[in-house]
Subunit: 325 residues, 2 copies
Amino acid sequence: MISRFPDLFKFRGVVSPRNHRFFHHRHPPPPPTPTTTMSDLRPPEHQVAGHRASASKLGPVVDGSGLFYKPLQAGDRGEHEVAFYEAFSAHPAVPPRIRDTFFPRFHGTRLLPTEARPGEPHPHLVLDDLLAGLEAPSVADIKIGAITWPPSSPESYVAKCLAKDRGTTSILLGFRVSGVRVVAPGGAVWSPERPELKALDTAGVRRVLRRYVSSVSGEGVDCALAAAVYGGEGGVLSQLLELKAWFEEQTLFHFYSASILLGYDANAVSSTGVGGGVRVKLVDFAHVAEGDGVIDHNFLGGLCSLIKFISDVVSETPEKLALGS
Amino acid sequence: MISRFPDLFKFRGVVSPRNHRFFHHRHPPPPPTPTTTMSDLRPPEHQVAGHRASASKLGPVVDGSGLFYKPLQAGDRGEHEVAFYEAFSAHPAVPPRIRDTFFPRFHGTRLLPTEARPGEPHPHLVLDDLLAGLEAPSVADIKIGAITWPPSSPESYVAKCLAKDRGTTSILLGFRVSGVRVVAPGGAVWSPERPELKALDTAGVRRVLRRYVSSVSGEGVDCALAAAVYGGEGGVLSQLLELKAWFEEQTLFHFYSASILLGYDANAVSSTGVGGGVRVKLVDFAHVAEGDGVIDHNFLGGLCSLIKFISDVVSETPEKLALGS
């Protein structure tokens, strides 16, 4: 019954962050790597979840060239996430279309200076910046799954996660909104604080998902962008349905505690009424477990629930606003 | 966040078993009800899960006329299950096809004598006997969902369920086999004891699902009936897929701790090679919660996992055995 979580991906030869071998770039080939100094790096402006890089905390940084550097997490989480990216990048059973559409591209790991630990370079995952190219990114980070702990987790970790899963909407809805940032037409940004998000109930989640596609400042919700962002060809809904079809079949990985990151360009979408660089990506793989021939029913269930919420928003949208669908 | 579980279906006017009103037959109209004596009633021969009626325990009984009597469970579970059946039977948003295909028909409640409590008639749910008409029923009871406790459950109940869910395959597979009974061609019955079922791991569940459609005595597994029972028109797989489509949309009920009961007639299927009265039914509704506009992602995820397991069995079956597909 107990899965082999502690040994996960061990066959990939993952080693301690203290081991030099770990910092070599592996598959796929690395991008050009000029010497990066701390002055090139900054926390992403549109980060909505996780720790923000500062003098006291490690956090992700971007360098403006389209790459996203995520510091390896403490304990075995960082190693584990690297191991996942390595296994996933190379796995012959992962359809290239799924890998390219729904996952950040992995460019190995890299030691980088950090503000939090001066003089002590820290290993980072090097990933594509998923929001690169979006002028005014509206972003939502949605943690998928009623259960956020891998089955083999120790009792204390299960208890900690379960308390969060019950205290938020995870158990009830199969997902929770971990972060959201909406750019209104004038450029005003709405981005509720974490305690506000944690306290959301079902109605609150609906409101946030409607607000995410509204083109107003302040508290208003008009869902003017629902058809363009959620509906239509290449919209969130059609991408989520493609992802769902894969999850009905794939038995390689169980994505505990991973998030779906939604992004679109508030400037592009408001000016054209269609498209707007809609992105649907999976992120955060520190708790992925081996699938061992079983589908990820926990992620799939939450994904189906999110799909229902989003299609409810689309179907409630007045037809006159249904651009691009 | 906390659902209104204690008040569930209260609007249906459910009252204590001690209240006479409770024992009136309600929707749909009751079948003819001759005076039933204890001698007419016997535990169903093919029962695979739950307590068996005896001098020391309450358990379901049948009367041979196609009805199944399930004693109301202690505490509020019994009331709760009655309330579910009443709400479900009358709900205008439940498609008749779903109700008729996948649920036992509900004929109200009835006070019956029991062996366990002589002289003290006990209230029973009156339901269709789901296996009536099958000469040699092969049966499997599969409890669906990684989570078996409604979100509003008290801490102690969560802990108790979680221990079982982690100790069996529920968390890992999104379902567990609670009971199975397979009739071999000569009439020999294979029905493992509960401790054996509880100890099943992923490989063990696969083996049981293969054995369920095997036409051999002893330990052998030939999957000779896989195409007839699981595959093909009207087979388990096509019925599960129809159920899945409903669960992707329905937001009325969350079926915590409910089971899918599979049944077929080992005599009919072995003689004809196709059909064999394949049945797919939902049972056990003592822990159903209101859906409140949210899909039952927990049941849906487990159902998708079961579908994958069963389609794996079908696709592994050699073509020469693929009758009826």
